[in-house]
Symmetry: C2
């Protein structure tokens, strides 16, 4: 997905929010916004938004000297999600369609996103998404691919959401490789966040090699690319991964909540809709 | 009021919205955002936000070649407001406190603001604001000043809202000078908009000399400054005028709806609160 004009003010807003989490020094935050402002004219509009995100979060690290501003937030998100784990497992146990319920739970986890300008209430939003209609619902194709698959590549998105990914992986019943970001960016899931979420018990965890808040193939490492090419089934969580992979010539199952109107328009759904979309089928 | 860090992404959003109203040429809008982005580092944070607004809207005129992008929108707003005029006059006629009801109506008109990132429904919002509690309510002082005043200077804000200003001016019962912007900026009221709103029947209309979307005294003309100094009572509508005059050493009655959280925090109220605030009393 390319960069839209609406993304440009949003980049400034992201820089402000992240800058405030990294430091209380208003002068450093102003310096960050000055640099991001100047960067606008350098942004190729055919870049995907996470590629620009990569530059912004590098700038945040550079100006504030803080490598992982969202560390504490991520720990809290994982803690909160782990507390919900037993109750959600019970919901799945009592469910008529365990796989579909697990998919809903994994999508609900996608609200734990500090990159977008939205607040969330994990428990309330979870209840709502468990009942919400899908705007795109390629569940039949998902089941067909899953039945045939010997190996599944699962692209993680946010820390905390990763605990709900574990719940879905437990229902998939197939060998899964779980993919994390190379280094901390926003609240995206890294290797240590995935370990803290218990994903090592259900999946092989690898890094995409990408430091952007999304999966940008030209920025990924060889191991990931190999797995991306050979995996029987790819499950991609969240907006950042969708933005990076929406034009890729490969079947990918995108599980996400459309949290901004640009993504929503691109998917031809409405903002706040939930989506299970298979590309290239 | 100074510029806050939160204002910086908002300037980019304003440029995008205004650029889209001025032109359909995405390249021109991108050029505008590039320029506004680069301008961020030049913005003195002790400037008031409308001073930066002045630069942005100059840039819009320069890049798009459109002098008054909001012309049609302003005409429609005035048209819609004039249609409501008879009904609102009837509400005042049936009201226990005609002056207070007219103040509410004038504040409700302040929602017609295309500078902020909000949508509005004139009729519904009017009904709501007619019942809404004030977060700051210096009505007693307003009445005392009004009774003693021989001359009132009334600073207009938006076109359309100007029709509701006329309704308040009719209840003031004193000679009023109505102040408009020097040239079109966003949907702010200009001389011709004030004429179209019928304000020439109830007030003497003058320009502040200021092209910014607010009243910035150092940018105003001599005639306005003279009137500002000698007026017995000053009524100021809207956010832009408040941002320009909040620190001025002069009693000003600010009538507005707090449409962004920065203004709300500055006034120590909540977003969407309505305010009748006397400064320096």
């Amino acid at each position: 997905m390319k960069t839209y004009l609406d993304c440009l003010p949003c980049f400034m807003g992201q820089a402000l929010r992240a800058g405030r989490i990294a430091t209380k020094d208003e002068k450093k935050i102003k310096a960050l916004l000055d640099d991001v402002g100047c960067m606008i004219k350098e942004i190729p509009m055919d870049n995907t938004p996470p590629e620009t995100g990569d530059f912004i979060y590098k700038k945040i690290r550079e100006i504030t000297g803080v490598f992982d501003p969202y560390k504490k937030i991520k720990e809290e998100s994982i803690h909160d999600a782990l507390k919900m784990y037993p109750g959600l497992k019970q919901i799945i146990k009592n469910s008529d369609n365990k796989l579909l319920t697990a998919i809903r739970i994994a999508i609900a986890g996608n609200i734990i996103d500090f990159g977008v300008n939205k607040t969330f209430n994990l428990k309330e939003d979870m209840q709502q998404i468990l009942k919400q209609d899908f705007a795109i619902f390629h569940f039949k194709q998902f089941v067909e691919h899953l039945e045939r698959a010997q190996s599944i590549l699962y692209l993680g998105d946010n820390a905390g959401e990763s605990v709900f990914d574990k719940i879905l992986i437990e229902e998939l019943g197939k060998p899964v490789t779980y993919v994390v970001r190379e280094i901390p960016v926003i609240n995206d899931v890294t290797f240590s966040d995935a370990m803290d979420s218990g994903l090592d018990h259900v999946a092989n965890i690898i890094s995409s090699g990408c430091s952007a808040p999304g999966t940008i193939l030209p920025l990924c490492n060889d191991e990931f690319i190999r797995q991306f090419e050979k995996a029987d089934m790819i499950i991609s969580k969240g907006q950042g991964n969708y933005e990076g992979l929406s034009s890729v010539d490969r079947c990918v199952f995108f599980l996400l909540k459309a949290k901004c109107n640009i993504i929503a328009r691109h998917l031809q759904v409405r903002e706040d809709d939930i989506v299970l979309k298979a590309s290239n089928i």
